[in-house]
Amino acid sequence: MTDATLSRILYVEDDADIREVVRMSLQTLGKFEVAACDSCAAALELVDEFNPELLLLDVMMPDVDGPTTLRKLRERASAVGAPAIFITAKVQAGDMARYRNMGVLDVIVKPFDPMLLSSRVEQIWRGNRSKSNDDVG
């Protein structure tokens, strides 16, 4: 299991500027395959065909927020066990515990350094893989 590498990331973000810089960072620096979209509805259209290994979700979106998007995506067989990372400009006291209870691996806080983003995502992913292997072992 430790040999498994991250390749497909489904990314949902309503801010077009941030979406573009994150997509480019993940694709160019991380060499990940990225499906980027602007809403929960668009993500639900993509998810079955894309079959993501990781969900990267903005928290504050105008129509359907990140936590609800995560819940809806995980109702699909293609994402039922997919780990998730949230990106947000606001983490209030208690949020992190609530997110972890939802199965979110970690939170990346905006603003972030785009040059370091892909390595941060991979670090979180590897941490989860390592933990999963420990739990199995």
Partner: protein
């Protein structure tokens, strides 16, 4: 630096310049949204739209290297929250603070815009 780093660094410069170029328009949009909400303070959807845009600018500003814009947006977000919490809506002192925060945001947005324009001019001359 690897080829990927170089490639991304060039793209990031392009995106950052494009982001800074539309900052004055973004602030104008916030000012329009604030005016719309002040004219109809019971319309919570107007306030939500304004709040969401300010929140986005706070996150995007720092990510694109405009930390002073991000900080100014954060202050505006806090002032707006205080204004919204005031049951009377556009109360005097809270509104003054919102308008002062908006002025700081506009000043920083214009500064980043001019800086990006100068960099663009220097880039085409080199």
């Amino acid at each position: 630096m690897t080829t990927s780093d170089d490639e991304f660094s060039r793209e990031l410069t392009r995106l950052t310049t494009a982001f800074a170029a539309q900052l004055p328009q973004q602030v104008q949009s916030l000012e329009d949204d604030l005016a719309a909400w002040l004219s109809a303070p019971r319309e919570t959807a107007l306030f939500d739209t304004l709040g969401h845009k300010v929140h986005q600018l706070k996150g995007a500003g720092g990510t694109f290297g405009c930390s002073t814009v991000s900080e100014a947006a954060q202050v505006l977000e806090q002032r707006l929250a205080a204004l919204e919490a005031d049951a009377t809506g556009a109360a005097g002192s809270d509104l003054d603070e919102v308008e002062a925060a908006m002025q700081v945001l506009r000043r920083e947005a214009n500064r980043m815009y001019r800086s990006a324009a100068q960099r663009g001019k220097a880039g085409t001359q080199s």
